[in-house]
Symmetry: C2
Subunit: 280 residues, 2 copies
Amino acid sequence: MMSDTHNTAPTRFIDAHIRYAYRRFGASSCTPILFLQHFRGGLDNWDPLVTDGFAKDRPVILFNNAGVASSGGEPADTVSGMAKHVVSFIKALGLSQVDLFGFSLGGFVAQQVVLEQPNLIRRVIIAGTGPQGGEGMASFAPKVAEHATRETPVLEDFLYLFFSPSETSQASGRSFWQRRHARLEQDIPSSMAAMRAQAAAIAAWGEVPKAGRYGALSAIRQPVLIVNGHHDIMVPSINSLILQEHIPNATLILFPDSGHGAIFQYPDRFVSLARLFLDE
Amino acid sequence: MMSDTHNTAPTRFIDAHIRYAYRRFGASSCTPILFLQHFRGGLDNWDPLVTDGFAKDRPVILFNNAGVASSGGEPADTVSGMAKHVVSFIKALGLSQVDLFGFSLGGFVAQQVVLEQPNLIRRVIIAGTGPQGGEGMASFAPKVAEHATRETPVLEDFLYLFFSPSETSQASGRSFWQRRHARLEQDIPSSMAAMRAQAAAIAAWGEVPKAGRYGALSAIRQPVLIVNGHHDIMVPSINSLILQEHIPNATLILFPDSGHGAIFQYPDRFVSLARLFLDE
């Protein structure tokens, strides 16, 4: 297993009522880190430089939630429902504790998991994400929605959604796209039904509550690292600051000239900072 | 020189019209990093864990601006005047390029130096600071002013001004205070005249300009690392976000449960992150 990498690790399945698809690779020491993916994303939507970077000194587990890409079952249409699948999956693997890395929608799910099952989680990294009922999270801008919901997403969608308009950022987006497609045995795409369920979950998570906005965040006791790009058009970057303000032990990192996908624009920098955080 | 540390490096003087006091220690390779100090602070107001941390792999230079503590000359009463002294000092040492680390008032000066003499500066780290005309920077709150202007500052002033009210943060403040006083041969305190000149410089820097607020920041081409605590009562933390928004190549780090002196609350973490940034 230790010699597997992002591009060679086989897709595995584990049955826990649902048949969850996952991949596991990397060092066998340290707490495993479980990756929770963005809207519509599957096992192949991570950057190998990020996954293999973490895998140098800990087990990396990539995971498709129920009904997403190669996982079985019905896609959950609430963040809370997705969190329950994450917990079932962790328990099915027989893991007593993991670190969570949640990106975008995966960051919503990570917050929910750590609130519901704090003993299962050691540390949390969340990127390109926001709190329940955050600023400007109830709906996407029309152009964002158009790119985010295209039946078969193409490079131009990711360049628009994940990267800044600068030449540098766009070039890093194209490099990411190459890395992301380097693996031969690719996961199947998520269905349109999965997209609709996730869109419903995102819209409900983004609704501003009538009372107690951000109140739940104070219950998160784990160390949390919050990362985002300078100008995120999918989950506005101000939400990263709000998370840092309300989670008691949270460190915030914002990268320059970047957007939602800053972790894929600065994969080496991100991994270096994240490993420092995980090893503190 | 390489065996000197924060606590043993002698105070040196160099004449460039003004007789500037400084200390230099650390590795002899890499670009030197020049430390620019906070309101009223002198050579001993740094944390040895921070200075010695940087000194592991680069020369560290601590510096008193004109009229501050053991430096000669009249204290400048504008940030621009202080920046001119920094430039004179760098040139007097015969250095062709340095990294700047500016804390609080030192962060204002660092911004001014990099704008006026971009070729002298390779990279910039600024902590607990804000842009010219930032949010809530024109004056201190009354209690902040009272603690910040006491004739002989005591531990309680630093605990209030630099750390959060939590037990953890206050305890880290007391540890900092011990480290900060461990050196036997201490610098003389800054005069009240230096305090008044610096206060005038801070007040003028904090004034909101009639037009072009934050416009100058876009001219900074160097990579910049911006660091602050979660809730800075001297230079409100929102200014760190504003700096990140307006400086083209700036990375922001905000630490949890901390204030203006976050770099002294998390000295090891700060140094690790800063060294990654400097070595990129």
